[in-house]
């Protein structure tokens, strides 16, 4: 499924709706350049999962974990692979525990840098920066 959003707010709202359709245990692998909408999407995702804390960039610490409240989903793991070249470092900080948890939604930004860690049934989302504030969001299952 491919959609085009016209603002950061639209990307956020779309992700929020998207989050509400998740069952638990999904890993969302986001691929796209700096400024292509991944952070806005992650924030919307968290909001849709009932996370009430402010979602700040996990680039520095690689992974931030939040409490979620949406049916059986009680955790949101926000991972950023921007600085990494392979998945070993994510394993070292325990990322696979969250990826394999049925009550957790895991979102990975810059996921193309850590393909080794992608589970078989992950949801890949590609982000593209079009003209101005427009972004193309392509969801591949």
């Amino acid at each position: 499924m491919k959609i085009i959003t016209k603002s950061e707010k639209e990307t956020y709202n779309f992700a929020r709706e998207f989050a509400m359709q998740l069952a638990g245990g999904e890993t969302i692998c986001m691929v796209g350049d700096l400024g292509s909408g991944k952070t806005a999407f992650s924030k919307g995702l968290a909001s849709g999962l009932g996370v009430d804390k402010i979602i700040t960039s996990p680039t520095f610490v690689l992974m931030k974990n939040y409490e979620a409240k949406n049916g059986s989903i009680d955790k949101f793991a926000h991972i950023d692979a921007y600085r990494l070249s392979d998945a070993n470092d994510l394993e070292a900080i325990g990322a696979t525990d969250y990826i394999n948890d049925d009550n957790c939604i895991t979102a990975i930004e810059w996921a193309d840098r850590v393909r080794d860690i992608w589970p078989k049934d992950c949801i890949e989302i590609d982000f593209k920066h079009l003209d101005g504030d427009q972004r193309e969001i392509n969801i591949k299952k």
Partner: protein, 338 residues
Amino acid sequence: MIILAIESSCDETSASVIKEDSGVLDIASNIVSSQIDIHKKYGGVVPEVAARHHVKNIIPVISEAMEEAGITKDDIDLIAVTSGPGLITSLIVGVESAKSLGVAWGIPVLQVNHMYAHLAANFLNNDIKFPAIALVVSGGHTELILINGHDNFKKIGQTLDDAAGEAFDKVGKMLGLEYPGGPIISKRALEGDSARFSLPRPMIGSGDYNFSFSGLKTAVLYKLKEIDILNEQDVNDMCASFQQAAVDVLVKKTIKAAQSVGAKTIFMAGGVAANKKLREDLSVSAKDSSFEFFVPEFKYCTDNAAMIGIAAYHLLKEKMPDLDNWKNIKADPGWELE
């Protein structure tokens, strides 16, 4: 009282000995073993690599700190250690080393919050008038903290996305500069024209105490797309323009927060507090608005164990923490100041 302090939350392994005599603190040693050169090629700290180097460095660094201070284990009254926030694999090395030494030497261990310690670096023999507003800026944090006493603080604002230091690193990467971006951007900005590129000042008039740097980073990206081939002067000008935009927001919001809460003092902490332009601009604005202004010496802005020792001293003095259960201390990567 003599405190041995240990810090290993990110990529610096550090140990320090603090000697206290009648309320006056003396930093008898502050050894920092940096891994910056090791992590340069990754564009940031790699947890697994960092942890391995901490394991290798921590005992030599502690020995050196004790030797330089001219003390033995029998002189130490307390071991202070950072237990969060930070990278879990790095924190564990410091915390477990501190506990092992505590058991072996029969000395209690006090856990210290890394961000509180950055703030406490300002307490070093300064008579701070409260309330104070502290701007905490680093690679992982951008926060405004209201401080009513040496151990009484409350977060009143924060970044809603990227930390200021992270924005410097990411813009540095876009410009093809070396990691970490902060010091290089600061240096290149000296040769640049800060008015060349018009960049936004995100959330400067938002009415709250929060920040946003993600949009500023994107704005830099848009401007760079307009230029075909970037020459050295373009890079310098972008460094100056970006730095000024980031500094303007940080300074304006800090002054406004201080005015709103009726603060007497403003201070700054964290790695980005080493940025010269930010130090100058905030210092001038604070003085213009009649606030007292403090910023730690450069060597106590970046991660170091002396600040952990200073923080431990103030926690002991003001808060009288429970020192019975220290064997249960665990590294806590998500330990945020509330």
